[in-house]
């Protein structure tokens, strides 16, 4: 079905697409457990309770992408799907102003021209929007980062709409996950999605529906609740938490896990006017 919509690529478009891909390795090395991440095809999940810096980290990644190469950025385009109406444009502009050497309006507009934003109101609309965005990825070859904030936003509403049947409850998200997998592999994207810690971890892990096999899951307050199709797609999981220090400076911790290779790394960062600082 994709072939009917994909136009023939010109040589320059192909080069632009491939250049954009290799550049992602320098996106944010502190965030990943292994060197050389992320690569196209990676699906990275940001998980954590509220106020732990997930959205700020996304602004940081967006800024790294849309700032031109002359300013130290990657100069690639980003597609941001906002399901929570949480995106704060003014905050992103403040971060850009702090990071750019020339803070002119034109420069900011040029950077923002590389960002595309969509708001989705329901999981059905999210699914249909993903279908319609497929065309955009064909037209914009330098669009190589897809961000969804957050993919768990419709969880309770879907669960209530699905009634008693788990299959019905998860139907939309499963379709979204399957289509996202297709999009990510066909168009060579990297996908970042945030999920919220909506539930407390059950005290007795034998009771939990999905038994945790990986070591990192026992430390952090992680209880998987999204559908299996999504969980199997994720290649990296990054847990966010606040550091409870006695000092005044607010620091946050990221625990980054590479799921296939089982590497775990812990790093800390703080949030300043110019965004995330490691």
């Amino acid at each position: 079905m994709g072939d009917a919509f994909r136009r023939a690529e010109s040589g320059t478009q192909l080069l632009a697409r491939l250049e954009g891909r290799s550049g992602l390795k320098s996106l944010e090395p502190y965030l990943f457990a292994e060197e050389g991440s992320p690569v196209h095809g990676d699906v990275i999940e940001f998980h954590g309770p509220e106020g732990t810096g997930k959205t700020e980290m996304l602004y940081h990644l967006i800024a790294r992408c849309i700032i031109p190469k002359s300013g130290g950025g990657l100069e690639v385009e980003v597609m941001f799907i906002d399901t929570d109406y949480h995106f704060d444009m003014l905050r992103l502009v403040t971060i850009l102003e702090n990071r750019l050497a020339q803070r002119t309006e034109d420069m900011i507009k040029q950077c923002l021209g590389r960002l595309f934003l969509v708001n989705c109101n329901s999981s059905t609309q999210l699914l249909l929007t993903l279908y319609s965005l497929e065309n955009m990825f064909c037209i914009h070859p330098s669009l190589c980062l897809l961000i969804i904030d957050s993919i768990s936003a419709f969880y309770w509403i879907d669960r209530s709409n699905g009634g008693e049947s788990l299959t019905l409850q998860e139907r939309n998200l499963k379709k979204c996950a399957n289509f996202l997998e297709k999009l990510v592999s066909e168009h060579h994207l990297a996908l970042f999605a945030t999920t919220q810690t909506l539930m407390q971890k059950s005290a007795n892990s034998a009771e939990s529906f999905f038994p945790s096999k990986l070591p990192h899951e026992t430390d952090t307050d992680y209880r998987p609740y999204l559908c299996k199709a999504w969980q199997q797609m994720v290649t990296h999981r990054v847990f966010f938490s606040k550091q409870c220090n006695s000092g005044n400076s607010k620091r946050f911790t990221v625990t980054s896990c590479h799921l296939k290779r089982n590497h775990v790394v812990k790093r800390s960062f703080s949030i300043a006017e110019c965004g995330v600082q490691f």
């Binding site: 009917a4 309770p49 106020g51 444009m89 934003l117 059905t124 249909l128 279908y131 209530s160 607010k250």
Partner: protein, 321 residues
């Protein structure tokens, strides 16, 4: 789930729908996610026609991406910062209440949430001459207190200011959702014909209508709460309103720090959160001093504290923004 029916979009005829239904394609999602070449063969329909219908359906039901630069222009021109009536609270909120966002005031009973809400209503009505919608779910709204806050003004101005504040008493979640629906209809009309501007909605309190729904193993309560959250955020964003809600506090243990009530799912909803607490005094008598601290903010560092006096509440007109 939108079901396919004739006339949903041009090109979708009744015979087409019957043929599709015979192949178990009933909703828009089914149609969009199926392989059109396959369908064209099975239903013996024209592939071109199917592609055209698909394109129109997607344009109708999916969200349209906006470019960052255009969105920035729009937000610059439509965002306003509203004063709360208390300069120290304004300072805490980075010059005031931002439109397009949900701000939460949380505090124990008696910490001054309703007083601050009344102060906001009085200030916005008096100095900015704008309309306010006040949804009262606790019965704590008293017009006489508002009148007292405005007593420094001339009588005519007092009357006008009070007339601009619309109070709706809602005592359960469905009444609240209905009031918000009416607000939405009114704002849609306002966009078309420039009627009186409304820039702020104050909800005191949101926990009073949601508490009865939570608890137990059913998730319907949480689903309705998230629907309310979604409605508030969409209203704030689409019509550039500042939405102020008040909430209770709970603690994890008797000595733990206060956290907002209504659970984890609600905690993601507001962009800014302010904790109101009484100032600890050595004397036994009640005081009108309160301490407001910033618990969550998209712009400022968390933990800033300011002192408020909710007693005098004389609203002095601030400069127009």
């Amino acid at each position: 789930m939108v079901v396919l029916r004739a006339g949903l979009c041009p090109g979708l005829t009744e015979e087409m729908i019957q043929l599709l239904r015979a192949n178990s394609i009933q909703t828009v999602v089914d149609f969009v996610s199926s392989d059109l070449e396959d369908i064209a063969q099975k239903c013996s329909l024209s592939y071109k026609a199917l592609v055209a219908v698909r394109r129109v359906l997607l344009a109708q039901f999916s969200a349209f991406p906006a470019n960052g630069a255009d969105l920035y222009e729009e937000i610059k021109s439509s965002t306003a910062i509203l004063p709360t009536g208390s300069p120290s609270l304004d300072q805490l909120l980075d010059s005031g209440l931002y439109t397009g966002e949900v701000t939460e005031l949380m505090g124990a009973p008696g910490s001054g949430k309703t007083q601050v809400c009344l102060g906001i209503a009085a200030t916005v009505s008096l100095s900015l001459k704008q309309h306010i919608l006040f949804l009262d779910s606790t019965g704590g709204f008293t017009a006489s207190r508002l009148h007292q806050m405005l007593r420094a003004e001339e009588e005519e101005e007092q009357l006008e200011a009070l007339q601009r504040i619309q109070v709706v008493r809602v005592f359960d979640i469905y009444e609240m959702l209905r009031a918000l629906q009416e607000l939405r209809e009114r704002l849609c009309q306002q966009v078309v014909s420039s009627m009186e501007p409304l820039k702020i909605v104050v909800i005191d309190s949101v926990s009073a209508v949601i508490y009865p729904l939570l608890g137990g193993k059913q998730s319907e309560g949480l689903a309705i709460m998230m629907q309310l959250a979604r409605e508030l955020k969409t209203l704030a964003r689409e019509f550039s309103l500042a939405v102020v809600v008040t909430n209770q506090v709970t603690r994890d243990s008797s000595t733990g720090p206060p956290k907002p009530a209504l659970g984890r799912s609600w905690s993601f909803v507001p962009s800014t959160r302010v904790l109101l607490a009484s100032k600890e005094v050595t004397l036994e008598k009640a005081t009108t001093q309160r301490i407001a601290s910033l618990a969550k903010s998209p712009r400022q560092a968390v933990g800033i504290q300011v002192e408020l006096d909710i007693g005098s509440g004389d609203v002095t007109p601030t400069e127009r923004l």
